[in-house]
């Protein structure tokens, strides 16, 4: 079932169930609880996508509304029911193990939210001063972050706290607080019931839309570069998978050497495209005398430097070491590419390849960068690529 169909199903089912619950219990809050539980499921389907296939769900603000508006027992019932339905609705998303992990993570965050909210309400003796309520809600919203990161770390779900992740969490926390205040009010003031979360979710939905667009565009951009990187492989110039393997190895080495995110991004693109220029050069008449690597690098770097977002990658491919930061990136690319040639193309053992690189004259390969290669190889980071 497509995402839009799942969303439509949850909206319709939530409206029907909520209306029935409201009719059955007109003076109580069961109807609102059912509507919010549906909102929780909807929030599980709509996520703010971050890097590395991670995401923050829009269900977290709804948890705050539920925690602040209902008893612990009703909160637990709504969360358990919503998470079970969400698990069923994720039936065609990745493998079952991942679905279980996600469910555990979400339940942990829900538990963290209610524990902090109820705990602080008890500590403040259920004080209804505006500042106290806002601080309590803020603390419960902030508590979701460490619980989420800790669970991701435990469950190996790529915890991330990048710049984009920080903004996502800020949007989630501020919207959750506003939605909760709208639902419960403070000391009987400002309460607008179920309309509060509904209306005050609008800015968050705008943020969701923006995150979606950014994610789609970033993926398309990355895939276009990967697609271009395949050209020398399809042309039989380099072994299949060479560019991708070199890029993965280079990024891992950059991580070990503490290269900045921006420079790592340039390095990754350089690694993916470092043979692209060769497709524009005439085939040598004598196949036993391939085009010199320096000529390929020169042609490729000229092409890349003409394109603004790829100019940094062009400098790296050109071997431009005038900037000390670039010098490390240039060395990483050279070592990663030569290492892949020795292992994948020539079929040598990794240890032999490293030994070969180490035995080259000192001015060819930087000792520190070779050390990073050894650490990456020892850590087994290449297993997934090979």
């Amino acid at each position: 079932m497509s995402l839009s169909r799942r969303i439509a199903f949850v909206v319709i089912a939530g409206l029907v169930a909520g209306t029935i619950a409201h009719v059955a219990d007109p003076s109580g809050s069961t109807g609102a609880l059912v509507f919010l539980a549906a909102g929780l499921v909807l929030g599980e389907l709509l996520v703010l996508r971050l890097e590395n296939r991670t995401a923050v769900p829009l269900s977290y603000p709804v948890l705050l509304v539920l925690a602040s508006g209902f008893s612990t027992a009703r909160f637990a019932g709504a969360v358990a029911g919503a998470e079970l339905i969400s698990a069923v609705l994720r039936f065609n998303d990745r493998e079952s193990g991942w679905r279980v992990q996600i469910m555990i993570e979400r339940l942990a965050v829900a538990a963290g939210t209610i524990a902090v909210y109820d705990g602080l309400r008890d500590v403040t003796h259920h004080n209804e001063a505006v500042a106290t309520v806002l601080l309590t809600l803020g603390a419960a919203a902030v508590a979701q972050l460490p619980v989420d990161l800790a669970m991701r770390w435990i469950l190996r779900l790529h915890p991330t706290f990048s710049a984009r992740a920080r903004l996502a969490w800020l949007a989630i926390a501020s919207s959750g607080m506003l939605m909760a205040i709208g639902y419960r009010g403070v000391d009987g003031r400002g309460q607008v019931g179920i309309w509060g979360p509904l209306l005050f979710a609008t800015p968050l939905l705008a943020a969701w839309y923006a995150f979606e667009r950014l994610d789609t565009a970033t993926r398309a951009y990355d895939q276009t570069i990967e697609s271009l990187a395949m050209a020398p492989e399809f042309g039989g110039i380099v072994p299949p998978g060479h560019s991708k393997r070199v890029a993965t190895l280079a990024v891992a080495m950059a991580g070990v050497l503490g290269v900045s995110t921006h420079d790592t991004s340039d390095l990754e693109r350089a690694a993916l495209l470092h043979h692209l220029g060769q497709v524009t050069i005439d085939e040598p008449e004598d196949p036993s005398r391939p085009t010199p690597a320096a000529e390929v690098a020169a042609v490729t770097s000229t092409m890349l430097r003409e394109i603004k977002p790829l100019a940094g990658a062009g400098d790296i491919v050109a071997g431009d070491a005038s900037d000390p930061k670039r010098r490390v990136a240039v060395q990483i690319l050279r070592i990663a590419s030569d290492f892949d040639d020795l292992t994948a193309r020539d079929g040598n053992e990794q240890s032999f390849a490293i030994e070969t690189l180490r035995s080259a004259p000192g001015y060819v390969y930087d000792d520190k960068v070779l050390g990073a290669l050894e650490r990456v190889v020892e850590a087994g980071h290449l297993a997934a690529v090979r």
């Binding site: 943020a207 697609s227 497709v279």
Partner: protein
Amino acid sequence: MSPFPRRLWWFASAICAVAALAAGLLGFSERHQAFPFGAALVFGALVVFSAHREVALPQGAYLSPAFMVCMAAMVVFQHDGSLLAPLLVGMLNGLLLSGLTKATWGWIPFNAALSGLALLGAALVFGALPPVMRDTVPLALVAALPPALTDFTVRAGLILASYRIELGRLPREVVRELVPMGVQVFPFAMVGLFLGRLYLALGPTVLVLIIVPILIAREMFSSYMQVKQSHDETVQLLIRALEQKDPYTAGHAERVAVYAGYIGEELDFLPARMDRLRFGALMHDIGKLVVPNQLLNKPGKLTEEEFARVRIHEGVSVQMLSHIDFLRPIALHAHSDAMKFDPDNLDHPIEPYIIMVADAYDAMTSTRSYRKALTQEVAFKELRDKSGKQFHPACAEALIRAIEKRNEVHGKGHEEESHFEHAPEVGLGSAGLGDLLPDEKAKQ
């Protein structure tokens, strides 16, 4: 921001005079009551700040936190019994200072007066509503409609008049452009109204809580626009690589993308689909990257072996384009056999057919190594003759219609540049495209 037109001076002056008169009258009538300075300062600052932070939505719509803040301010000032405050805060909504130059400053008083009068109208209507409607949920949701409509009507009416005076545009045309704005007004008005209620109950903190996600949405949109631009520029890398390999293709990919865009417009494609079509057209020859230069530029006939090697590029194009998620639906049909029109295959996406028509039209109307460009008439005739057989009829007709509508002429005598000055008038095949001479084709 475009320079302020002289034709609009008297109209803008009249609007400003009305706003100034309203401010004077309201100031006089409210002289005995306390002006809500604190709230006016908070909302005024927030309106100016948020007016500069619009979020672009699809279909050319914008999400501006400023309108929400104005609606919230209207609720707060209605509670304080002031009409002067919404007029002044509304005027601040027109203070769009970005891109301001000497030639454009005239827009400031015009926009300020227009926005102020619109919010004053909304506040008057909101104040006239029965209290039960303003204060009871869910009736308060409906209460958002009259002031929102008033704000929109005043604003749209004045914009309509200014367009009429400045450009002589028909009201119907302008209304069509303004309707999407009107549709988004109501939900934001509801949020604004409830925000105002929360402000009255809890103070200014709530304003921060709603502005934060909107600013983050804007930040993400900026990043999205940057990535999109980088993507566009990166596709240029492919185009340049192809042009280096095969000089005939200079400008070919861009022209195919333009023609494909014409067809997409004629077929009422939505922006997302247009985007996919454009990228598909720009990248349709990506597989040629793996064809050796010597073969692409071979002036004479191709041997069987060479022909087979050149044909590989189509399969490679499919594989390379399939790697890009959003192009995959059309990439799977990017093979020349699959691009030929097949009326029985109803599941076939139309984009590959469009690209084939655009590609063929550009091939016919541009000079190549083996022959000069054909005239536009010949190209149109060829498209029509093969419509329903080789070309999708709707796509072929859409391209002809779009080009005629634009009064464009392509082909012989109308090319911008040609790399093949000495190409023969009549040619038989293109080595670059992997074509064989007719007798070789027959053998195939």
